[in-house]
């Protein structure tokens, strides 16, 4: 098996260029690649498009900021595609002020759009969103008397994902609900960087227990920041 380079979080962040579209795994910060996120915050790369389930936390009252919330606070995004921004007041402020474009997508549709992007599909038909604002401008296709929305695949320049464990080939094992969007994002970007808590030798992970195959992964980063 090909051994994947283990790089620093700063090196990983440096591979993201101005104007790139990036996917970041995690669900309200659980299962997010926090080490790379903080390195990217340091780099301050601008004009990015973010694809992420949510924008984690930014609470004006308590001052708490977590996960990709640091990047939102740093105004690094031109556009954010997410299913939920309710726990990040800064995302809502930037959206209402017209500073950042925010596209809200139903969570299941977002997961499937990313899956389609990585799976070579031209899109998929979903009943989700029929009759709502989500359907605006989208093609409706009838299948056996039922209406479905045609949703298109999405891909990214870079995906930053997080796993519990990797072998040096890049086979990944996740833990608990920290799996969430990480496996679908692993397949849907031109460059995929996995932040992992533990890196073991090839052969030390039972092939039956690999949850994301190594071929999707380009680089590994050792996690230093876990939340």
């Amino acid at each position: 098996m090909i051994v994947k380079p283990i790089i620093s979080a700063a090196d990983a962040a440096g591979r993201i260029k101005e104007g790139n579209t990036i996917m970041i795994g995690g669900f309200l910060g659980c299962g997010a690649p926090h080490t790379i996120i903080l390195a990217l915050k340091e780099k301050g790369t601008k004009n990015l498009t973010l694809i992420c389930n949510d924008t984690a936390i930014h609470n004006f009252k308590t001052g708490q900021v977590s996960g990709v919330g640091h990047l939102v606070k740093n105004k690094m995004f031109r556009k954010i595609i997410a299913s939920h921004i309710g726990t990040n007041q800064e995302t809502q402020r930037q959206m209402n002020a017209g500073e950042t474009e925010v596209e809200l997508v139903p969570q299941g549709t977002l997961a499937e759009q990313i899956r389609s992007g990585g799976a070579g599909l031209g899109g998929f038909l979903t009943p989700t969103g029929i009759g709502t604002e989500i359907a605006t401008g989208k093609k409706i296709i009838m299948v056996e008397h039922n209406s479905f929305l045609l949703e298109l695949p999405i891909t990214a320049d870079v995906a930053l994902i997080k796993a519990k464990k990797a072998d040096k080939a890049g086979n990944l094992v996740f833990n608990g609900t920290a799996r969430n969007f990480n496996p679908v994002m692993a397949a849907a970007a031109a460059l995929v960087i996995a932040e992992v808590e533990e890196i073991v030798e090839i052969g030390e992970i039972d092939p039956n227990e690999v949850q994301t195959p190594s071929i999707f992964i380009d680089f590994l980063v050792k996690a230093e920041q876990l939340e």
Partner: protein, 176 residues
């Protein structure tokens, strides 16, 4: 007559709907309260859209696991026999009709079974999260809501005025 909001009565009534073996997804807020009123002899399976079947109670302080959270991002646990899965699998379960009940919070709900609960344009825009998929996919959609806003306006409408989360999907409204 003075209106005194009563979330407990709503949560208690919803808890009586479920039967052993049914798969239930509880939304954030008032719907989450339902769990503590489920009778001990009723054994339901809680699904959480962030990737758990068999969601357990919140762990005791000090024994939280940062990798096990509920759909609100709070520390959670998993029951014996439960499992974790990716978001894509979670929504295959949800859209695919494998969840019996979804209990969701409300901004407005109307007589045609329409539900609005994800945005007040220009003001509060939290986003729909998994709610659009849950209302489409769950066998029974339960809207859990206080009857009135603090302003005195009813949350139960003839016709919703806010952007809709679900069109003709609500089966049961439980209110105080």
């Amino acid at each position: 007559m003075e209106y005194i909001p009563n979330k407990e009565i709503i949560a208690k009534r919803i808890a009586r709907i479920f039967k052993t073996g049914e798969v239930v997804n509880l939304g954030i807020g008032l719907p989450t309260m339902v769990e503590k009123y489920i009778a001990p002899d009723i054994n339901i399976v809680l699904q959480s859209e962030n990737g758990i079947m068999g969601l357990g109670p919140a762990p005791a302080k000090g024994s939280e696991d940062r990798d096990i959270t509920d759909a609100g991002g709070s520390p959670a646990s998993i029951r014996a026999g439960g499992c974790f899965f990716a978001s894509s699998v979670s929504f295959s379960i949800i859209r695919g009709g494998h969840v019996d009940y979804t209990v969701l919070g409300v901004l407005e709900v109307d007589q045609d079974g329409n539900l609005a609960n994800y945005k007040v344009p220009g003001k509060m825009v939290p986003g729909m999260g998994g709610a659009m998929d849950l209302t489409i996919g769950a066998r029974v959609v339960i809207a859990a809501t206080l009857h009135f806003l603090p302003s005195g306006a009813s949350r139960l409408k003839r016709h919703c005025t806010l952007p809709l989360t679900a069109v003709h999907q609500v089966n049961i409204i439980v209110t105080d």
